[in-house]
């Protein structure tokens, strides 16, 4: 088959296989837009370089913690509880050997910080969950419509009703007790 014909067929494949995207996806993504997009910062750039170079994950995590501490100090150190929670999250991942990708941890921490800065009442379970359980709830917060948004240990997110949340929490606590 000639290259041109193959190219045409690939374009046809793209056209015919364009499956519909879940309608709520764009809104889910928009919910995660930070109030202020981060501009160039030396500390964050350091993290990116480390992640891009894919150096030792423990070293990368240590630098992430250090950078967070430096930022918190630099910004006045008022959010000591949030910082404590962030450090616990990373420390927990580190100690359990669950830290897999720098960006994952950084994304969870950014999310947590963003939500608390937005004044959301975030319940954080990073220090009590079983790190092996990818379905454990890492954090949860209430939405304006009365439902809850849940972030799982593997960073998946889902909107659930109060009844579903109780089920998830029960399952998580049962798993922990076992």
């Amino acid at each position: 088959m000639r290259e041109e014909k193959l190219g045409q067929l690939l374009s046809e494949l793209a056209k015919r296989s364009a499956e519909p995207v879940r309608p709520g996806l764009a809104e889910d993504i928009k919910q995660r837009i930070p109030q202020h997009l981060p501009l160039y910062r030396a500390g964050r750039d350091t993290i990116n370089i480390i992640i891009d170079l894919r150096i030792n994950k423990l070293a990368a995590a240590a630098v992430i913690i250090l950078t967070l501490l430096l930022f918190a100090n630099f910004l006045g150190g008022k959010d000591s509880n949030g910082l404590y929670q962030d450090s616990k999250l990373v420390a927990k991942y580190l100690l359990s050997g669950q830290i897999t990708q720098g960006p994952d941890v950084a994304a969870a921490m950014l999310k947590y910080k963003y939500l608390t800065e937005q004044g959301k009442d975030v319940a954080f379970y990073g220090d009590i969950i079983n790190p092996q359980d990818s379905n454990a709830i890492l954090m949860q917060w209430r939405l304006s419509d009365g439902r809850f948004r849940v972030m799982f240990n593997d960073l998946r997110e889902k909107t659930v009703s109060p009844a579903e949340l109780i089920k998830l929490q029960t399952r998580m606590l049962q798993g922990k007790a076992r």
Binding site: A14, R16, S17, E19, V21, L25, I29, K30, P38, L39
Partner: protein
């Protein structure tokens, strides 16, 4: 369209959250389909699409050239996909199934033949090595220009073209 993307890139660099929202509206379907065409299942594609945008907002300082918005975003998305495959080495690529063949003047036989051709081609694309699959998807299915797709894969245009040739050669062999 090009001017709108230029202004969008400019606003993103200034840290405007409204531009971040516009970026989502403009690209979320494209990035989701890019993930699906790279062989991720629906749930993973959604997760990786979300992650790509989150990473994009953290990397606006890397958006140096306004006209490179496509290449910049697809590069971030491609990195997210590659990291996923590295993390889940045992997983196989899944090809999209079910093709929309519109009712037209073609006979039933012609429609069936086209459906079969597309199905075989889809499997052949899914079997390509990751690097080759990426170039085919970016150029032929996401319709990025050679320059944009080369930017997205982080290689020179010449290297990209040579990968594309290799990919087409492999597909021709598989596809007959």
């Amino acid at each position: 369209m090009e001017r709108r993307l230029d202004s969008l890139a400019e606003q993103l660099k200034k840290g405007d959250p409204q531009a971040a929202s516009e970026l989502v509206d403009t690209y979320y379907e494209g990035i989701y389909l890019y993930m699906r065409r790279l062989g991720h299942n629906q749930q993973t594609s959604e997760d990786l699409t979300q992650e790509s945008f989150m990473r994009a907002w953290q990397h606006t300082e890397q958006l140096q050239n306004n006209s490179a918005l496509n290449g910049w975003l697809y590069r971030i998305a491609g990195n997210a996909s590659r990291q996923y495959w590295r993390k889940h080495k045992g997983r196989n690529a899944v090809s999209i199934e079910g093709f929309e063949i519109p009712h037209g003047q073609d006979s039933e036989d012609e429609k069936l033949a086209l459906q079969e051709q597309l199905s075989r081609l889809s499997s052949a694309v899914a079997k390509l090595p990751l690097k080759l699959r990426d170039v085919v998807v970016l150029h032929y299915m996401q319709h990025l220009s050679i320059a944009e797709a080369a930017e997205a894969t982080g290689v020179r245009k010449g290297t990209f073209k040579s990968r594309l040739n290799r990919a087409l050669k492999t597909l021709r062999k598989e596809f007959g």
